[in-house]
Assembly symmetry: C2
């Protein structure tokens, strides 16, 4: 039963600590996005981060904690940028556009991070798992509310289901998106918004 307390650096004299930690997380997300959490050995992550194997354990007490830190950091950033965008949106439709835009843009800028977050929840267990679930839940509720606003009153459409289907379209992008081949993100975003609001048959 791991404790989840953000390691508070004790008055560090060397200011490189945070940067090093970030660079390890970046390496971790790159390796894990490529070969999955189980396949991402601590040795590979260490090599990618240009640090010794044991050096990793100066920053994380276990491989699990590393994944947890990565997920927490990523989801926090994703939710923060969404909240910012939502503030600026003035209609329900604009809010929905903000959700889709934010997700796709965040994806295009942090593919590895988001991929790991999307596919490696079940690799966590115990307290780590529960905590990440809570963070995800908050993000989901945020989106669900926006979705609900776009469903006319009296409609038979279920907001929960709709939001889940939307998440599917948003996250499945990992399976096919190729920066070289595919259209720009804004075009993707526009198309999904149109389909999700009006359907393909209109």
């Amino acid at each position: 039963m791991p404790e989840i307390i953000t390691k508070t650096a004790p008055n560090r004299r060397n200011r490189q600590y945070e940067k090093r930690l970030d660079s390890i997380l970046k390496a971790a997300s790159k390796v894990m996005a490529e070969v999955g959490f189980e396949g991402a050995s601590v040795r590979k992550v260490a090599a990618e981060a240009k640090i010794g194997l044991s050096g990793i354990y100066y920053y994380f007490k276990s491989k699990d904690e590393m994944l947890f830190a990565l997920q927490e950091s990523t989801f926090s950033r994703l939710a923060d940028t969404l909240k910012d965008r939502l503030k600026k949106a003035e209609s329900s439709k604009e809010k929905l556009k903000a959700v889709i835009d934010n997700h796709f843009h965040f994806f295009s800028e942090h593919m590895d991070d988001l991929k790991v977050c999307s596919y490696e929840i079940e690799s966590l267990s115990g307290e780590y798992y529960k905590e990440v679930l809570k963070i995800r839940r908050r993000y989901f509720d945020l989106v669900k509310e926006v979705v609900a606003e776009n469903i006319p009153t009296g409609s038979l459409i279920d907001p929960d289901l709709s939001a889940l289907f939307l998440f599917g379209s948003l996250n499945w992008i990992f399976m096919w998106y190729d920066p070289k081949r595919n259209a720009d993100i804004n075009s993707l975003s526009k198309q999904l918004l149109k389909i999700y609001l009006e359907g393909i048959a209109t």
Copy 2:
């Protein structure tokens, strides 16, 4: 560079061979769905299949081949049931309903198989990877055609993108579906069809 030739059983006198092979594939999909391909050790699969560790290698020459066989078998069945349903459909809309129904029903009956197929493509490499890609491509094209039929002429909607978004909604179900909590499959299917055709805002 592995050869991909379906092992032709040489006039077996013991008819248990096929059943044993199926039981191993079933065990493999169960374990892999739970802990992923990397996490699914051959020992765990063997234990689940109630066979000795080395017994596995009588049926498969490597762990990779096991995953390949599982994916090939699953996708073949999925595509076959879809083709059957499409034959019976009489309108474009009914065809689309067939696609969604088929996918969700296949999911509910073979969750483990489909989960592994959805998330473990990249675990394959070389010839195995290429071959599975071809099979997936065929299935995708099948669906894309149905999607395209449902897009009015002159519409700005891109069939490829639409199909990909649909696949997202269909496959993301792994992330949230709980047989105990969620509504029945038919209800899910209906909702997605409605949303996908008409949007949430109508």
